[in-house]
Amino acid sequence: MTIASLIETPSELTDSTSNKSAIVLMTRVRLARNLAGQPFPGWAKPAQRESILEACRSAVTAAPAMKRGLSVGVGELGELEKRILVERHLISRELSGSKQGSGVVISKDQAISVMINEEDHLRIQVLRAGFQLKKVWSAVNELDSALEESLDFAFTPDLGYLTACPTNLGTGMRASAMMHLPALVIGNQMEKVVRAVNQLGMVVRGLFGEGSDASGSIFQISNQTTLGESEEEIIKRLSGVLQSIIEHELNARARLLEADSGKLFDKIGRAFGILQNGHVLSSNEAMNLLSLIRLGVDLGVFPDAKRSVTDRLFIEAQPGHLQHAQKGEFEAGQRDLLRAERLRSEFANFSRPDFTLSANGTN
């Protein structure tokens, strides 16, 4: 598979048709692994990085799950291609900024990506649309076991998998869910939720991880600690936290409808109007409008099937995807015109909002 054909194929996240992804858009689990006896990527010399890259690359591409996937060095990728991979959550910003001796292997269905020589020698990630923590964990566990057949991982019985940063020690696992929480944002309850989630040992971040903002009311919730608990225990604990956030979001939606449905429908209706007729839309504004449409789908204002349209546009309205679709590099101002044009055409044939249905409540 080539990078060009990968980009032309919709990502794992852009074809979620089931309503399993109503509040949890995506789940992902990543494992940090390092080769025994080798310096970590940040400390390795260029020649060592190259040889580690080769060893990892041949092991990863040989794994059954990665058959006919894409294997590419970061240096071989153009800026736009890297940006698209970041927007699809297939590589990190850190990897896209690294120079010599880094690479990525991506499965054909774009559900699995293995970054090589990012912060650790290997960052093995599986992501799926919807709330599927257990399934995602078992897929990543299986790939990790397959790699273990040919690679000697740095491991000690008491500290577990050894990682460049001690915050990842032990399981080396970070499990996360991307959640759409518009009612908690509208109701100004997110701060409270973040605090409570932090106390439970979980972290809340924006859409693109550390330091990114939560545009579109999309948040990533993940485990903070990796040592002292088994993978299954961490996943069980995270699942519990996610369940309770889902409940809080549903309650917040019910409260908004009860207290002032007119105001809520006004927001959704206006979002629809702007998406259909706007001419200048920044990435951030587009995300927030799409988020309201998605909330509308959940409330029954738009048909269920339209959820996949908003989820696709969440990704396609990002700068990299937009520039790729328009085949060129554009200034931010010009991009905002193009984005609005793109959204106008998407929403020209979107179903008209029906606010009578929504009396039935949420979902």
Partner: protein, 168 residues
């Protein structure tokens, strides 16, 4: 994920982060509030980062100060700068620095998750072979030929066992 940075002078949590460019070199320093006050960081005219960096390097824990990782040459100062280790062996070399840090960082201090059994098996076999080969050459040197023969037989057995379970 980034660590909470510690003050370069007294290892309390750092809240003041300073970057200065001197002679085209970037110098970074992290300080807690009281050290920042004391060193006059808030007064840009009367403050030299180079001076501070020197003092910080002299001020490191004497027990940890001189240690370097034998495998990769990493030093505690490198860790302070980067928040990451140099290689897996650093975890043994800098145990004294790591242990107090781990206490507050994780749910526990002992791993209870997945174990890479295949790799561990390979390592056990490898360690056993290395030991037997050492015993063998010692026995030959001391002209204990009966022991040497026993070692040789055992080496062959271990090798055979390893081949029956190839590492693919």
């Amino acid at each position: 994920m980034a660590n909470p940075l510690k003050c370069d002078l007294c290892s309390k949590p750092a809240t003041v982060h300073l970057t200065q460019i001197l002679d085209n070199k970037v110098h970074k320093v992290d300080l807690c509030e009281s050290c920042a006050q004391e060193k006059g960081v808030t007064d840009p005219s009367g403050f030299s980062l180079a001076d501070l960096l020197l003092k910080a390097s002299l001020n490191t824990d004497p027990a940890a100060g001189g240690i370097r990782c034998e495998q990769c040459g990493f030093s505690p100062a490198d860790f302070k700068k980067q928040g990451r280790f140099g290689c897996p062996a650093c975890y043994t070399a800098f145990k004294g620095i790591l242990d107090p840090m781990l206490d507050g960082m994780h749910k526990g201090t002992v791993h209870s998750g997945k174990v890479p059994h295949r790799a561990m098996e390979r390592k056990t076999l490898y360690d056993r072979l290395t030991k037997l080969e050492g015993d063998l050459s010692e026995a030959i040197k001391a002209e204990r030929y009966e022991d040497a023969a026993r070692c040789r037989d055992e080496i062959n057995q271990v090798r055979q066992a390893a081949e029956q379970k190839p590492a693919r």
